[in-house]
């Protein structure tokens, strides 16, 4: 049992490094080719308003690596506190800030502190305020019951402990708060060879 736990912890550490590496690469070299579509083409495919993409900083759009459009059902209102789980280069947080307005608050959480800085810079370039916390989605660095809305785009699937992530979203939401996420799910149990392959897991 201890061996199994140690093996999982070791695999999680390797995966964490691979996830950090891959998404840093998307941010640093958005013209490169990845397993997934990204950038403006992906955002348009998922129905992001072209006006949003024109208005957002080019770097935030180019590094977009989502798998759908969580804004379609998020229903963000003026004054809302919005948490973007896995905020990356910041496009979703910036779009959320336009909905929440100056009386609202947008908080990003990302595993990568460099991405937090990048997202905050992108948000500032649009005149939006976004605070970003470096942290893990399994242990959110946020108090209980502070968020009206949690959004996330293609991030939860990267976690080995998805139940814990969902419990954390529940914890940080206010009563009556809502979640709008887009993510990847599998209809079948993935083979151990896929689970053990950091590159496949991170993609």
């Amino acid at each position: 049992m201890l061996d199994a736990l140690a093996a999982q912890a070791s695999l999680e550490a390797v995966l964490k490094d691979e996830i950090l590496r891959m998404y840093q690469e998307v941010a640093d070299d958005p013209d490169a080719e990845f397993h997934f579509f990204h950038g403006r083409a992906a955002a348009e495919l998922f129905g992001y308003d072209p006006e949003w993409l024109d208005r957002a900083p080019a770097g935030a759009v180019a590094s977009f690596a989502g798998v759908g459009n969580p804004h379609l059902r998020a229903g963000i209102r003026e004054g809302d506190t919005v948490l973007d789980l896995g905020s990356g280069a910041g496009l979703d947080a910036i779009v959320a800030s336009w909905g929440a307005g100056p009386s609202g608050r947008v908080i990003g959480v990302d595993l990568n502190p460099a991405m937090c800085l990048k997202a905050q810079a992108h948000a500032a370039a649009t005149g939006a305020e976004m605070e970003c916390h470096q942290g893990a989605m399994e242990s959110l660095p946020l108090p209980d019951g502070g968020a009206d809305v949690v959004i996330s785009n293609g991030v939860i699937n990267l976690s080995f402990r998805k139940r814990r992530v969902v419990e954390e979203m529940f914890r940080v939401l206010k009563p009556g708060g809502r979640v709008s996420i887009t993510d990847i799910v599998s209809g079948k149990q993935l083979s151990q060879s896929i689970v053990n392959d950091p590159k496949l897991w991170a993609s």
């Binding site: 080719e33 397993h35 579509f37 059902r73 139940r163 009556g176 708060g177 799910v185 896929i194 993609s203």
Partner: protein
């Protein structure tokens, strides 16, 4: 994932497939289809 939300206390859990999602590389897309991999949109509410 749907079940995780319900078991964690969320209500009004809804999901729908994201139309148009696919992987860029055909080999990855083929593997994804073999495992029933798809992108979904999910919404849920924390009870009052």
């Amino acid at each position: 994932m749907f079940r995780l939300f319900e078991e964690s206390g969320f209500t009004r859990v809804r999901s729908a497939v994201v139309p148009g999602f696919r992987f860029r590389r055909p080999s990855t897309q083929d593997s994804a289809e073999a495992y029933g991999v798809k992108a979904v949109m999910m919404t849920a509410v924390k009870p009052e």
